[in-house]
């Protein structure tokens, strides 16, 4: 097992590629990258080519002068700073909240947020360069960060966090001009690469912390219909940006159903890709049926 675990650390998913083929072993990763770049492109074809499908940025956008989408986190900060936004912004926030209550709050992190491209690249490089060791702070630090941004917002009566938020800084910068934001983004990248594994997205980012709270009751979750087939290759742990979410569901710790209910699962689907035994699948939080070890081929009832 230790030999398998070792390959998992350097080239996770090799087994899955052998078993399912390269494309099937990268299906969700490719879809996810298409989503991330596609959304970015939708925002960029306006300023680049004058095709205005979407205006604005991730804080607020207006699609085809019809669909308002607002970041509920920034609206929360505005409300705490004692400003009541107009109806358009509130409507947009309600739509976005509803959407992430359905698909999982931190789906924002893995399918939309541009910083994820940066930190994924840092992690990929970290593995490739064989960089060991990582500063340790606990993952719940992000909730302290979230609390801090809200307290500072109340104390200063302004949306203070937006002044330094690397997430909106990157997205806004790509669309409206980066300025020195590149230095902030480089700092995040280098922090993740050299200082802390999954440092920004996995430990510190208050935006992700906010969306994880939204995702506590989210409908779309990763299910493990074939968890009995797990051969302990550790590939899923190696690729998962929040590996602590896997164990309870995979190992049925304290009778946990075969579902990843942990709010910090980003629904990135990479575990589905790299598992040669097809242990994981997208499902809903209501779907707790577990297939017998031999019945993998049989589809799980909806």
């Amino acid at each position: 097992m230790s030999a398998i675990a070792k390959t998992a650390l350097t080239r996770p998913g090799a087994e899955a590629i052998a078993a399912k083929g390269w494309l099937a072993a990268h299906k969700w990763l490719l879809l996810r990258r298409s989503s991330q770049f596609g959304i970015l492109l939708l925002f960029l074809i306006g300023p680049w080519f004058g095709i205005w499908i979407v205006k604005g940025n991730l804080n607020f956008s207006y699609t085809l002068n019809f669909l308002p989408l607002t970041d509920p986190y920034v609206i929360l900060q505005s409300l705490l700073a004692r400003q009541m936004p107009e109806k358009l912004a509130l409507t947009g926030a309600a739509i976005v909240l509803t959407f992430y209550l359905l698909v999982g709050g931190r789906s924002y992190c893995s399918w939309v947020c541009p910083v994820n491209l940066l930190t994924d690249l840092a992690y990929w490089l970290r593995v490739r360069l064989g960089l060991k060791g990582s500063a340790h702070i606990s993952r719940p630090t992000r909730y302290w960060m979230l609390g801090m941004t809200l307290v500072v917002g109340v104390a200063t009566g302004s949306i203070a966090w937006e002044m330094v938020n690397p997430v909106s800084m990157m997205h806004r910068g790509l669309i409206f001009g980066l300025g020195l934001a590149w230095a902030v983004l480089l700092a995040v990248f280098l922090f993740d690469l050299f200082v802390m594994r999954h440092g920004w997205c996995g430990h510190l980012c208050p935006v992700g912390a906010f969306y994880s709270l939204v995702g506590r009751v989210a409908v779309v979750r990763i299910k493990l219909p074939a968890r009995a087939a797990c051969n302990d290759c550790m590939d899923c742990f190696a690729v998962c940006p929040e590996p602590q979410v896997i164990r309870p569901a995979l190992k049925a710790v304290a009778g946990t159903p075969a579902l990843i209910l942990e709010a910090n699962c980003t629904n990135c689907g990479r575990c589905i890709d790299v598992c040669s035994k097809d242990v994981f699948a997208f499902g809903t939080r209501f779907n707790t049926s577990v297939l017998p070890a031999t019945g993998i081929a049989q589809a799980a009832p909806k």
Binding site: G46, W52, K55, G56, N57, N59, F60, S61, Y62, P68, T70, D71, V74, I75, S78, A81, R82, Q83, M84, P85, E86, L88, A89, G92, I137, S138, T141, W144, M145, G147, M148, T149, V151, V152, A155, T156, G157, S158, I159, A160, W161, E162, M163, V164, S168, M169, R172, G173, I175, F176, G177, L178, G179, L180, A181, V184
Partner: protein, 287 residues
């Protein structure tokens, strides 16, 4: 008892230590963010907010930095502040000397704002108060030097209301007129066209944020002439005709000064001593 308590006490100590560590670390970061946010609210004078922007304190709480106003400005004058610029990152502004506000009648930037950081109750662009033009340098203003530049007056979209030319005598030549541009704050929108058009190397007229450009009278001040007009008459006592304590035989006329009074019986210049044509002191040749 001891065996049970010892590990839990250690765990409790660890928990408190970890919590304190996290709270302090994150708290320090929060202090930094808060101080930074406080500084950024001192809007630099050259950065003018779009029309209808709430006062800076409210604006920094209401603007969600989406850039919709930037997108809907047909003249592309608005920028979103970059992190290295000395105002809240991502908030919109323009620099009048580069590109002033064109004062669109339909105010698309305000309409585009989803939160109301640009106040939707602003319907008439002429009522906007983006800032206030101030003729900051009397030493370089060409009109102050006696030339007929008049450019700020001519380009003003609220011509003859926001900027007027006030004629004053030119003491240097003794025979010419200075046409002094005077800004009237009740009409100036702060669009910045005057600043953009000012031909001196560095603009002599500049749009400044209202808090910087505008003075304020103390609340207890009353302007007598205004109060009198409001009341339709004098507020202190019925206006009494002013009585001058005049030398005998003299009269005073406004603008003319003293002159001998001209009674019917004695025309001016009558023989001395005859009557009241001269002050009494001179009468009779005695002092």
């Amino acid at each position: 008892m001891d065996n049970e308590n010892k590990p839990s006490a250690a765990a409790r100590r660890q928990f408190i230590a970890d919590t304190a560590r996290m709270a302090c670390g994150v708290g320090l970061l929060g202090l930094g963010v808060g101080l930074y946010a406080g500084h950024a609210r001192a809007l630099p004078p050259a950065a003018i907010r779009p029309p209808g922007a709430l006062p800076e304190k409210d604006f920094s709480a209401a603007c969600i930095r989406c850039g919709m106003c930037v997108r809907d400005c047909p003249f592309n004058i608005l920028h979103l502040a970059r992190p290295e610029e000395p105002l809240s990152t991502g908030t919109p502004y323009f620099v009048a000397r580069q590109l002033p506000c064109e004062m669109c009648e339909d105010i698309p930037c305000v309409k585009a704002c989803p939160t109301g950081a640009l106040d939707h109750s602003l319907k008439d662009i002429n009522k906007s108060k983006m800032g206030l033009a101030v003729l900051v340098d009397h030493e370089t203003c060409l009109n102050f030097l006696g030339l007929r530049c008049d450019i700020c007056y001519r380009v003003c979209p609220v011509i003859d209301k926001a900027i007027t030319l006030d004629p004053q005598s030119n003491a240097r030549t003794g025979k010419h007129t200075l046409f002094i541009p005077v800004v009237h704050s009740e009409h100036c929108t702060g669009c910045g066209k005057c600043e953009k058009a000012c031909p001196t190397e560095v603009a002599s007229i500049k749009v400044l944020p209202l808090y910087m450009a505008k003075g304020q009278l103390s609340s207890h001040y009353r302007l007598g002439w205004v109060e009198k007009e409001k009341a339709g008459g004098s507020l202190v006592a019925p206006d009494a005709e002013h009585r001058y304590n005049m030398p005998e035989g003299m009269k005073y006329e406004s603008g003319k000064g003293l002159s001998p009074s001209a009674p019917a019986d004695a025309p001016p210049g009558a023989a001395p001593g005859s009557s009241s044509g001269l002050p009494r002191a001179f009468q009779g040749g005695k002092l």
